[in-house]
């Protein structure tokens, strides 16, 4: 009896047949069950690729057309009109505003409301007929080289087109007027000048969102929420307590990126550093509020990360950071307006590269404030004060 007892455990301890496969299979079955229970993760598996595909397929356009353009018409002439018509026919330009002086022109470009400005000077047609070869001025916002280069390239063929249709003076090979393009803010079309400021916003979006997105779920998962809720603290107080430390973190982060950008990549800060700091802080707070809102919606930390990704992805694609905003279809532009990064990319580029002031950036500043307040309101109302 005791002899059998002694042998028995050794028999049991033998490696079962196909042990590797059985154990792997056991693990696999368990993982599938857990995955199926986590509805949000399951949805993300479908949502993320679909969203990427749709955004890249329908919204992203690297040779954008119908770019907003302002015109300054100093002379009402047939020739001027046909040149404008020819520009519009290239499909690259869309005349959205007519201005009356050069200052207005500059303001529109600075605030990013238009990407191009066309000026038809006084006495243009007469000068052409005289053979003086006058210049037609096209100013471009070259902060985003991708957006402006294709359109500027199309201008070359434009004179030809205009001549064929309307102009019957002089010999065609001999150009009767020239189009003088002026690539503003980034004349050498250096992409780092465009990328670095936008990167400030992108990095901040990613880090800030995740910091706060995890904050409430972490309390729930670690069990500390139960004692926190049993103490006399209000949802707004929890929110501010969780957001404010990261405002400082974000600010340090932003200073680091801007500092490195300026030192290593020679990206200028033409505008007010103070304004940049103030609006960057606003942007950081907006992102933290949105992350915090996510935190009050999701069930666990994994879901918080996934929701942050869901938000981060369109932010990169639709904000104008990577691809030209003006080139996107209207629905994508509306979506983009709802993302804080869109407004911040405009703000940071305008301040650093164009030297814009608050007056130029009113719209984007207000948009950031509105997004922040909406997020905070949702967070405070969503915050569960009980464990129900």
């Amino acid at each position: 009896m005791s002899a059998i007892d002694a042998v028995h455990p050794m028999v049991e301890a033998r490696e079962p047949a196909f042990g590797f496969w059985r154990r792997s299979y056991a693990m696999l079955v368990k993982e599938f069950i857990q995955l199926r229970r986590d509805r949000v993760s399951f949805a993300m598996i479908v949502m993320i690729p679909v969203m990427q595909l749709l955004l890249f397929g329908y919204a992203i356009n690297t040779t954008p057309r119908h770019l907003p353009t302002a015109v300054l018409i100093q002379e009402d002439s047939d020739l001027g009109r046909s040149i404008l018509k020819a520009m519009e026919n290239t499909a690259y330009f869309r005349f959205t505003r007519e201005v009356h002086d050069v200052a207005e022109f500059d303001d529109l470009l600075k605030s990013g409301k238009v990407l191009f400005g066309v000026e038809i000077p006084r006495g243009f047609e007469r000068a052409v007929r005289r053979g003086d070869k006058p210049a037609l001025l096209v100013a471009a916002d070259a902060t985003d080289p991708i957006a402006s280069s294709a359109a500027l390239g199309a201008l070359g063929a434009l004179v030809q087109t205009a001549l064929e249709h309307d102009l019957h003076v002089g010999d065609p090979p001999d150009m009767p007027f020239e189009i003088r393009t002026h690539a503003r803010y980034n004349p050498a079309a250096e992409s780092r000048l465009n990328i670095v400021p936008g990167l400030v916003g992108t990095i901040l979006t990613m880090t800030m969102l995740i910091f706060t997105a995890l904050s409430v779920t972490r309390e729930i998962e670690r069990g500390t929420m139960e004692s926190l809720l049993s103490m006399p603290i209000k949802p707004v107080e929890v929110m501010f307590g969780k957001i404010i430390p990261y405002v400082i973190v974000g600010f340090v982060q932003a200073s680091l990126i801007v500092g490195i950008g300026a030192l290593l990549f020679g990206v200028p800060i033409l505008g007010s550093v103070l304004l940049l700091a103030a609006l960057t802080t606003l942007f950081i707070t907006t992102n933290l509020s949105i992350g915090y809102t996510f935190s009050t919606i999701v069930q666990n930390q994994l879901q918080a990360m996934q929701l942050s990704m869901m938000f981060f992805l369109p932010s990169i694609l639709l904000s104008g950071f990577m691809f030209p905003f003006a080139g996107m279809p209207l629905w994508a532009q509306y979506l983009g307006e709802g993302l804080p990064l869109t407004h911040y990319v405009r703000i940071v580029r305008a301040i650093m590269l164009k030297g814009a002031g608050l007056a130029n950036l009113q719209y984007d500043t207000i948009a950031l404030i509105v997004l922040m307040l909406v997020a905070m309101t949702i967070a405070v109302t969503r915050f569960r004060r009980t464990l129900d």
């Binding site: 670690r222 929420m225 926190l228 049993s230 103490m231 006399p232 129900d388």
Partner: protein, 315 residues
């Protein structure tokens, strides 16, 4: 607002008909209870009986589906914010911040309750709970007993008038448990009301009053003596050899409601004294066993209550 509290100075907890369901399953059913100020009130019952849910309803962490009542004179539905200021709640699972030190945790609580000098309040509490020398240790690295002291310290820090302790001594060694109960009695002597849930019978016997809850129903309450007397259970204590044989023989026989081994003895109990005696009579002469008439223990009473409630509410 304090006048409201003063209307009922002697009753700390007074609730009626509390009911709470989760996902269609009723966890607490029509529960009413009164706890007098300054008493240590033991809350007993099996796992999943609704103890935690009841405690959470008392301190405003859960909203009852129906029923109402007051905690320290404040309405548990409307005045949760005020109740929270006066109640210290010690959760079943350690719920302070594991990645904060002892001192930092206590200072956090002190600041949250708006104590005038959080630092010195924390320092005093550290001395009081005997954690001096461990101030800077992370709470997560403390052993079970120390964690429990810290948790008690944190919930008594804001000078609450009512303590709600949810299985505070689970997994704590006997010495630490005894110290803990001495502390609880000292606090109650100062006028603090303590509601404590537990599984331990010796702890139940340390309470002024107890209540037994199973399957969401409050089945018995009163002092330990009252609860035992109210059970109408008759018990024999049997000693001798081959008690396992006796257990097997008695199982399912008429009048025998419960047979439970206690070390070298056996508790044989029945609700119907006559039927119990009739069955037992045939074994009393067996020389192997010695039968003695005895009081049922609190545990016998609870196991019996639990068995009966199972028939009533789960059948």
């Amino acid at each position: 607002m304090s006048t409201v509290a003063n209307h009922t100075p002697d009753i700390a907890i007074d609730v009626h008909g509390l009911t709470k369901s989760f996902g269609g399953r009723e966890v607490v059913h029509d529960l009413s209870m009164q706890v007098r100020r300054g008493t240590i009130y033991g809350f007993l019952g099996p796992n999943g009986s609704g103890k935690t849910t009841t405690i959470r309803m008392l301190c405003g962490l859960l909203t009852p589906d129906s029923g109402n009542g007051t905690c320290l004179g404040y309405d548990i539905r409307r005045d949760a914010d005020r109740i929270k200021r006066l109640v210290g709640y010690m959760t079943q699972r350690f719920s302070l911040y594991q990645d904060l030190s002892v001192r930092e945790n206590l200072e956090f609580v002190a600041r949250l309750y708006g104590l005038p000098d959080a630092r010195s309040a924390a320092r005093e509490m550290i001395a009081r709970i005997g954690l001096k020398g461990r101030e800077e240790q992370l709470a997560g690295n403390l052993s079970g007993g120390w964690k429990q002291r810290l948790a008690l310290g944190a919930c008594t820090l804001p000078n609450p008038r009512l303590l709600l302790l949810d299985e505070p001594t689970a997994g704590v060694d006997p010495k630490a448990r005894r110290d803990f109960w001495n502390e609880i009695h000292a606090l109650a002597a100062d006028g603090l009301t303590v509601l404590v849930s537990t599984h331990y019978m010796d702890e139940a016997e340390r309470c002024h009053e107890i209540a037994y809850i199973a399957y969401g129903h409050l089945l018995a309450h009163g002092t330990v003596e009252e609860v035992i007397a109210g059970s109408a259970l008759s018990t024999y204590t049997v000693t001798g050899d081959d008690l396992n044989d006796l257990t097997a023989e008695l199982a399912g026989k008429g009048g025998i409601d419960m047979v439970a081994p206690f070390g070298t003895s056996l508790h044989v109990s029945g609700r119907d004294k006559a039927a119990l005696d009739a069955t037992v009579a045939s074994y009393r002469d067996d020389p192997r066993w010695h039968w003695q008439d005895s009081e049922p223990s609190l545990e016998d009473v609870f196991i019996d209550l639990m068995g009966r409630s199972k028939d009533n509410f789960q059948g």
